[in-house]
């Protein structure tokens, strides 16, 4: 039996209890009041729901491109520093995307997808730790 999720009140409303269906002593049905921290409207389109993530990633792509161009064209010491920025952004962007989606899926109640994304980040983190240890 699946339990109703706190963050999906629109699609997964709790089944009214027998008492609330039949009413109390006065005959009036008791409404069930639950505290909802955040409401996500799942009826919105994908483009709107992922708009912030898409915008952020586009900005990061442009930053990486400009930094890489600067690294390609500018002399030392600005060039290598810009290249390092570009490499950092290129590394961070996909990990940021996975982390973003993991949080989003967790909040939406897609726990399995969130777990897979978190596991992916754990693998990357474990690789980083191993690299640090064996440096």
């Amino acid at each position: 039996m699946s339990r109703p999720h706190l963050y999906r009140p629109l699609l997964n409303r709790p089944v009214p209890s027998r008492r609330s269906r039949t009413g109390n002593a006065t005959g009036a049905a008791l409404p069930e009041i639950r505290r909802v921290r955040r409401v996500i409207d799942l009826r919105r389109t994908e483009e709107v729901r992922y708009a912030r993530m898409v915008t952020t990633l586009r900005v990061l792509v442009r930053v990486a491109f400009v930094a890489a161009l600067a690294g390609l064209l500018l002399p030392d010491p600005v060039g290598p520093a810009a290249s390092a920025v570009a490499v950092t952004v290129v590394v961070a962007a996909p990990l940021l995307r996975v982390a973003w989606l993991a949080v989003r899926w967790y909040v939406r109640g897609d726990r399995r997808y969130a777990a897979v994304a978190a596991a992916l980040l754990v693998v990357v983190g474990a690789g980083s730790v191993v690299a640090l240890v064996t440096r």
Partner: protein, 83 residues
């Protein structure tokens, strides 16, 4: 596997991005990244990625599959010649 070629290409790109990021972290920690070479590689990758995405949306799956196969054959030939 009956996976649409556009879905396969997108999934491959995502997978390669994650694994490359993980590998790049290890290389960076070990100080084995040549920043002089990194800049042109990043510029080429970003330009090629955007160009490829636009072309992929414009052409039919068969054309995309043939082009992808041709590119992979060329890459394999280059790697074989270098080795």
């Amino acid at each position: 596997m009956k996976v649409p070629v556009k879905v396969a290409a997108s999934t491959t790109t995502f997978t390669v991005g994650i694994t490359s990021a993980a590998a790049l972290i290890v290389f960076a920690i070990h100080g084995r990244i040549n920043l002089d070479h990194a800049a042109p590689v990043i510029v080429g990758s970003l330009v090629g990625g955007r160009l490829g995405a636009r072309l992929q949306a414009r052409f039919a799956p068969n054309v995309v599959r043939a082009a992808l196969g041709a590119v992979l054959v060329v890459v394999a030939g280059v790697l074989f010649a270098r080795s």
